[in-house]
Symmetry: C2
Subunit: 438 residues, 2 copies
């Protein structure tokens, strides 16, 4: 199979329709998954540890007979960190430090201390910001183990001040990933359990004898995990359910085409549904990147996945100018946006919708994925129009504060009586009315 990337131009008459086709992605709902997940969740809710142990024996082939056997002690995570090859340990520590530093800035910028102000009647109003009490972090196990995902999910919770951070990670056939445990040790994770799948989500939502219930569950997982998170939403908070990962590269033609080709690969290698799109006003440059793709692709170990991803969901779009490129980026609202151009900030100012914006030719998406500092959990499938990267704010919530003075109760009481009467809510009106001076 040779790679064949779709080529579009904004001058073709059906461009908008073609672009819509490129972006179209229908998440298929699998009823059989939904049914399995509903049963697992109900079982965990009703039978606690017993159910969790049974599913863990069945799906992960672990011989466990008590809940306590599911817990990995903190010392084991510390030992995993200490046992890493020094260059890998230092890399993980450096990444953790940078992620922590960025999120500490984010916390400051969020007005974590809330506010209060007092009006002329002596009534004071405010907003109190508090961290969640407890959070569950789901970490996929098995072959595709991503320690960076542990850092990106746990550190913002830790920075927010969440006191209990419970990580769950399946260990099929007992295989534990040292990098994942080491990342937990660096991220402020307080407890670790070797459970996965819908049973792990159920345990975190409802609690069992061994696994504590939490207030919010975050982190990536397979279709069963995603379905379970959807179902427990409301009982606990959840993060966004992510679609396939995407990158949009806007290039003015000044970046080495090999670099851009490899950036497109770095997205495409995730899976066949991942999406890589390149936009440029320079048609000859698009051809040069195409040539780089054909040159480099045979050298990639994951070339089959990359070929399928680029051929089925990739695109190169020729635009009239960089302004038009930015307009299209706003329409696409990509998860990752690379502006690989001279004076990238100039173009970034035109961008309203993107999860993360990578500025300049040295800022490959991979640097952001691992260690630049900002979060790599980002809104996919055009949801950057209305949602944000995972952040400290996802682990905080606000309460309004209202302290009405006796004088304020007169002013406000008259307004409330009038409006409550207009809405036909008598008890509301009388409740405010009782505070009015006779």
């Amino acid at each position: 199979m040779t790679v064949q990337i779709r080529k579009l131009s904004t001058t073709q008459p059906d461009f908008q329709k073609q672009l819509t086709n490129v972006l179209a992605f229908e998440e298929k709902e699998d009823e059989s998954i939904n049914t399995v997940v509903a049963n697992v969740l109900a079982d965990v809710k009703n039978n606690g540890d017993k159910a969790v142990l049974e599913y863990t024996r069945r799906f992960d082939r672990l011989s466990v007979s008590t809940g306590a056997e599911l817990e990995i002690p903190e010392a084991e995570c510390e030992a995993a960190l200490a046992s890493l090859a020094p260059e890998r340990r230092l890399a993980l520590q450096a990444a953790a430090n940078r992620v922590r530093k960025y999120h500490e800035r984010q916390k400051l910028s969020c007005g974590s201390d809330g506010f209060t102000f007092t009006d002329e009647d002596g009534t004071s109003l405010g907003q109190k910001v508090t961290p969640l009490d407890s959070v569950g972090i789901y970490v996929p196990g098995g072959k595709a183990a991503y320690p960076s995902s542990v850092l990106m999910n746990a550190i913002p919770a830790n920075v927010a001040g969440v006191s209990e951070i419970v990580m769950v990670v399946p260990t099929p056939d007992g295989a534990r990933n040292e990098l994942v445990l080491a990342a937990a040790a660096l991220s402020g994770v307080t407890r670790v359990f070797t459970v996965g799948g819908a049973q792990a989500v159920g345990a975190l939502a409802y609690g069992t004898e061994t696994i504590p219930s939490v207030d919010k569950i975050v982190g990536p997982g397979n279709a069963y995990v995603a379905a379970a998170k959807r179902r427990v939403f409301g009982t606990v908070g959840i993060d966004m359910i992510a679609g396939p990962s995407e990158i949009l590269v806007i290039c003015d033609g000044t970046t080495d085409p090999d670099w851009v080709a490899m950036d497109l690969f770095s997205q495409a290698e995730h899976d066949e549904m991942a999406q890589s799109i390149l936009i440029s006003p320079d048609a000859a440059y698009l051809d040069r990147v195409d040539a780089s793709i054909r040159k480099l692709l045979p050298t990639m170990s994951r070339r089959e996945i990359i070929t399928k991803s680029l051929s089925s969901r990739g695109a190169m779009i020729h635009v009239q100018n960089m302004e038009e490129a930015c307009e299209i980026a706003n329409r696409i609202a990509p998860e990752h946006l690379e502006i690989s151009a001279e004076n990238p900030q100039h173009w970034a100012n035109l961008i309203r919708h993107a999860g993360s914006i990578f500025l300049g030719r040295f800022t490959s998406e991979a640097l952001g994925d691992y260690c630049a500092g900002p979060n790599h959990v980002l809104p996919t499938s055009r949801t950057a129009r209305f949602s944000s990267p995972l952040g400290v704010y996802d682990f905080q919530k606000r309460s309004s504060l209202i302290c009405v003075s006796e004088k304020g109760a007169q002013t406000l009481g008259e307004i409330a009586v009038e409006l409550a009467t207009g809405e036909g809510l008598e008890a509301h009106a009388r409740s405010a009315g009782l505070r009015l001076q006779k």
Copy 2:
């Protein structure tokens, strides 16, 4: 039917179990509603105006034949405002002004301008905050029309800087509510359409020839509207799906029992599933409030709803002291929490989870519902453990900014290569590696 409120004491051995029973609320999923809604949404997505008009004729009995007939021009909202009785118009304006003032403070506290900082390598990192482009506000129509809901949903969007705010409100049999239209004129609503139900949600999510698609849909509605919002989530953002409304009053025994009884009524009058709970360390005081309830209830026009609500879901809880009352409040994480006590701020400092906290005996919930300033759209059913009042932040989102310098690409590149290799993602490693100086 006489009112019979459950009485609990923290000294009874099964108190925790009893409290769990009081709080238990299972939202019943109605499959027939789900099926109807799925069909309506698909029809609106495929057939646009034609479908919306058909459902509007069928469900709201409007004789409309073109999309344009569904729009209420801005001038008509302005005229509705001008036509109100002066005291009602002034009350609505005063409420709108206070809500706007509070939310402007909230915007300031949210770090709306984002941040950037530069590290020692010249790499700059930041966060950009932008408003959503467009928002849809669902407003219920018919008899229970709530202009305060228009203010509370539209003003935060307007303050956030959302440029298109589209209100939909059904007008069964053509009945338009002047207060609702007047509230729209005061809240920065840009367009108004007389559609409701799942068809309105579908129109806002997918867009029709007449009704523009939006990025997020907020506002209360019946079971069909709630089911439709759940289904379009992902295509657009949505606010929380609210459960029944709740109030928790903590009183140290110093507030006039009639006042507290009426505050409990003001929640209970919403509907039979609404929940009113009173906690006090003073057993005699609980009896006095019980007596006030029996005295005042016969005088209430909505006494039947109040009686059912208090009898089926209400409770009075006797505690050992105010500290214990605050602990229980944190467990309940109520939508509305009144601390009707001397030195209320002292107790508020012990509260971690509540949607809105009403401090002191003059701060009846009704004042907050209408005009104190903070939002009245609040997290219900214990979700205040992980979510916040509706606010300006719900109409803004963030994008990360990363601009790696050439020098930074060396430091970060080595870390990324190491970690990407550890995760088996070759293209990620090579994408970072290409930026390393040879």
